[in-house]
Amino acid sequence: MNSAATAASEWYRPTSLADALAIRASARGAVVAIAGCTDLMVGWNAGSRRLPSVLDLSALPELGAIEVGPDAVTIGAAVCCARIAAHPAIAGRLPMLASSARQTGSIAIQNRATLGGNIMNASPAADNPPVLLAFGARVTLASVRGSRTLDYAAFHTGYKRTLAEPDELLVSVTVPYPAPGASSHYRKVGTRRAQAISKVALAALIETTDRAEDGTRRVRDARFGFASAGPVPLTAPSLSAALRDSPLPAIDRLLVERALASDLSPIDDIRSTAAYRRQVAVNLVMAALAEASQVP
């Protein structure tokens, strides 16, 4: 059905990061970096025969490792979702990330789709970014000029725009472990139960104080990540601020509604409506808070 004659101008498959960065630098943005191809190749099919030059990141050892550290896990940008979902340390310490990786498309997609691609494709509906936002992840970018590490929360600057420069590659994502006893809650609301794009998704990480004598506890710190609730994967700074020191479980729904009204900017599109996204986002937060209040 589609062209069999697709031919990229050049096909680069470096086996070291240094080589990859050199190609990236010399091409000045004229090469497309590819990894799992699960988003990118959808465009190839419908488009022209003449593809841009390709920089294949799949053979770079520097991008292919999962390193378990004392405070964080560092995941190479070209690690696929299936490996993340199956990794024991991630399942044990960062279960939300195992969960989002397991809900990224079908198994055939998870076997190919990479964490880096999920970030760099910069879709507001991407499945793993909400979790990375809630965990306070950092991203490491590299170029021939050197490397830098940024808070992921600042990375997406607008629809399909990021802080990455044209000569940079995303190398890894570092996800710190949450504080002991923190409650984490991930829920993807997709168009169906599997193999779906999210209509709205929430990742929440809620730290609470110890239970007071009257049995109540307070929110010490709450961080959120949302998908499909605005032009980029979003945190919810107003909500996080509003919840600080609030007592659980008696959190006022109106407070959450008001905060999210300023944090989120969902739209009507072919998958859902702004009204639904807004309402369900509030419901998901309330459910996450209810769950946090029940942590022993």
Binding site: G105, S106, I107, A108
Partner: protein
Amino acid sequence: MNFARTLEFTLNGRVLSGADGSIASPSMRLLDLLRLQAGQTGTKEGCGEGECGACAVLVDGEVVNSCLVPVGQLHGRTVMSIEGLPRTDPLLEAFARAGATQCGICTPGMILAARALLDRQPDPSLDEVREALAGNLCRCTGYARIYAAVLDAATVRGGDA
């Protein structure tokens, strides 16, 4: 060095290479290589965007959608399409007997996705079957007979072990 000429991988037991022309271009979709260049049309195109699973094949034993794989990424890998599945695989007879194939267009991809499941979980539960096949759309069967076939094939394989 021209990567395209050094590229090689194994398809159903046969080595393909850029050097001998059996791989036309690294940017070719694996699906097109299978169907148009290798003439192995058991792998089907249902959507071209990784959504339906009709083009599913195994790469190093793991299920992938061949419409989303440029062959340049297969260097050194082993690809199996339905034509490479041993004819003794219990899934084949189980699918036929259970009525798990109707129009048949999803069947090769479905069987390969099931093979990948049974290789990592030889005795799956119904829920595991449902999870493993969620990337393979079937519009004819309503899936019930496919579940039955996979569970049945698992029993056969278990008997061999």
